[in-house]
């Protein structure tokens, strides 16, 4: 006999990234621009604090919502950095990565048949998360001519006025787009007018290279309808430690905690010690990493300009999103580039609508590798120039 799988699970295929990963893994000379996590190690002080907590035998559960000290530190940090005011008692939930927080939010606010609008291109987990929660996905494509920012006209065109929930992620994976306060105002107004709950994934907030990150939750009338996700994976280079958090109104966070306490109980304890130390003493490490990313970002953007691959000026996260030459699909381009030059970059299509014809290029990789990768892409373009320009009939 075979075990009968649920329709929900069967309706979600494996991610397109997975397939590409398998091709890339078969070769050993690959320079990967396909990595969605920092190349830095967790700041040593944070690792050291985790080790010390293990030595002291601090390995029991914590409070469901996370260690109180950590929630207090998060409360201070998000206020200090992003003007987000959330109380440690009821408005913050520490989770196993921001991913868990996103999943909890979907399960806490989505009823079967509810429509969840997702600004795309986007991180690949939102869509399956909505489906697992029984909701319907409404993709809202963003456009390169808008620098991949979400606009009201795109929301209207997609029919998002009738949606129940809106998911946004800025700074954005995969485009590297950011949205300023001015860009967010009309989106916030749209959400208020149409009574949308907003889920704002701000995991890349620290990695903003032009001005300061603005959270949509700080806009007028938005706090009560917004859940913000953040965590330690990107800014503090703690991906494998799996620690994130959600900020929201007490009632919503309470509902998420109800699911969390039955399914996760509490976020892993050791990483909570690392995170506490990261917030206490690692601001300089974060600044240093952000500076490095920014240099690489400028380098990569300059090189794409020089080799003639159009690339909008990404100002956040650690991705740029160049356009593949006409005549190629992004998948074809990515696979041929990998095969011929050993450079892996993720085809944009896997990130949903609005991403066709683009590549996600991660610069969470050392400068020497970036240099070599860009040289190889340059060689690749030169070799394929005739094909690229004559492919369209």
């Amino acid at each position: 006999m075979t075990i009968d799988l649920s329709e929900r699970v069967e309706s979600v295929g494996p991610s397109g990234i997975r397939r590409f990963f398998e091709i890339a893994e078969e070769r050993d000379d690959v320079i990967s621009l396909g990595v969605g996590e920092p190349d830095f190690s967790t700041p040593w002080a944070a690792r050291d604090a985790a080790i010390a907590s293990l030595e002291q035998g601090k390995t029991s559960y914590t409070a469901n919502r996370g260690k109180r000290e950590l929630r207090e530190a998060i409360s201070g940090y998000v206020d200090d950095r992003f003007d987000l005011e959330y109380g440690a008692d009821e408005e913050i939930l520490v989770t196993a990565g921001a991913s868990e927080a996103v999943d909890l939010a979907f399960r806490a606010v989505v009823d079967p048949g509810d429509t969840v609008a997702i600004a795309q291109p986007s991180y690949i987990s939102y869509e399956p998360g909505v489906i697992f929660a029984g909701g319907e996905v409404l993709p809202v494509p963003t456009r390169e001519e808008d620098d991949f920012r979400l606009t009201v006209s795109q929301l209207e065109a997609a029919g998002a006025a009738d949606a129940d929930v809106l998911v946004i992620c800025y700074p954005n994976n995969p485009t590297g787009a950011i949205m300023t306060r001015e860009d967010l105002e009309p989106v916030a107004a749209f959400a208020r007018e149409n009574d949308l709950t907003v889920l704002a994934d701000e995991i890349y907030a620290e990695l903003t290279y032009d001005g300061e990150h603005t959270s949509i939750a700080t806009l007028e009338g938005m706090r009560e309808r917004t859940i913000v996700f953040n965590g330690f994976s990107k800014a503090h280079a703690m991906t494998g430690l799996r620690l994130g958090y959600a900020l929201g109104p007490a009632e919503t966070i309470g509902a998420m905690n109800r699911i969390h306490q039955y399914t996760m109980l509490s976020a892993p304890t050791t990483p909570q010690y690392a995170a506490l130390e990261a917030l206490d003493t690692c601001a300089d490490d974060v600044r240093e990493m952000v500076e490095q990313y920014d240099r690489r970002r400028r380098f990569v953007l300059s090189r794409f300009r020089e080799i003639g691959m159009p690339c909008f000026e990404a100002k956040g996260a650690f991705y740029v999103f160049p356009e593949v030459p006409s005549g190629w699909s992004s998948e074809e381009f990515a696979e041929t580039l990998l095969e011929e030059q050993g450079v892996a970059a993720v085809p944009g299509d896997v990130f949903g609508e609005g991403a066709a014809g683009h590549l996600r290029v991660s610069y969470a990789t050392g400068l020497e590798d970036l240099k070599e990768a860009l040289n190889r892409i340059e060689a690749f373009l030169e070799e394929h120039e005739p094909i690229a320009s004559s492919a369209d009939p």
Binding site: S15, I17, F20, F21, A24, E25, V30, S32, G34, V35, G36, E37, D39, S41, Y123, I124, S125, N173, R295, R296, R298, F299, S302, R303, A344, V346, L367, K371
Partner: protein
């Protein structure tokens, strides 16, 4: 400001090309060149050297940290003694420090005998020097901000969301 940024990048890797520095800073390449030149002329940048892990070479390289105590008099100041010592090519670094001794001197040579002889024959006899304590370097773990030995492998998945 750009001076500081260029300096920082060169301290990270003095072999970055001016073109790459320009790309990373959004400066014109000519501006980067001019900045480096002015830093060199002003004596801010005094030289460029590789960071060497001697343990990876077959040839022996002996290095020692030497603590020096000196006695000053009316005619002789720290600067005079430093000048005299710094002229020896065996001395690779010389600093006046606070604490139990006065100078912190780094010495390099091809053998322990050579370094010892240098200290006993050239350094100790200097009249103002009252005491030398020599520490031979046994293993180096970090030089100029760079950790020596095998680097961390990148064990991240080659492609991830």
């Amino acid at each position: 400001m750009s001076e500081r940024e260029v300096l920082e990048l060169l301290r990270e890797n003095a072999r970055y090309s001016t073109a790459d520095i320009a790309r990373m800073t959004d400066l014109e390449e000519s501006a980067v060149e001019a900045t480096i030149e002015s830093l060199e002329e002003a004596g801010v940048i005094c030289g460029y050297q590789p960071v060497v892990d001697w343990d990876e070479l077959e040839d022996e390289r002996v290095r020692a940290e030497v603590e020096l105590n000196v006695m000053l008099d009316r005619e002789t100041g720290y600067g005079d003694i430093a000048e005299r010592l710094a002229r020896f090519p065996q001395v690779t670094a010389l600093r006046l420090v606070s604490g139990d001794y006065d100078f912190d001197m780094e010495v390099e040579g091809d053998s322990i005998r050579e370094v010892s002889q240098f200290i006993s024959e050239k350094v100790a006899p200097v009249p103002e020097i009252t005491q030398t304590v020599t520490h031979y370097v046994m293993t180096s773990y970090k030089e100029n901000g760079i950790e020596l030995g095998d680097g961390d492998d990148d064990d991240r998945l080659s492609v991830s969301p």
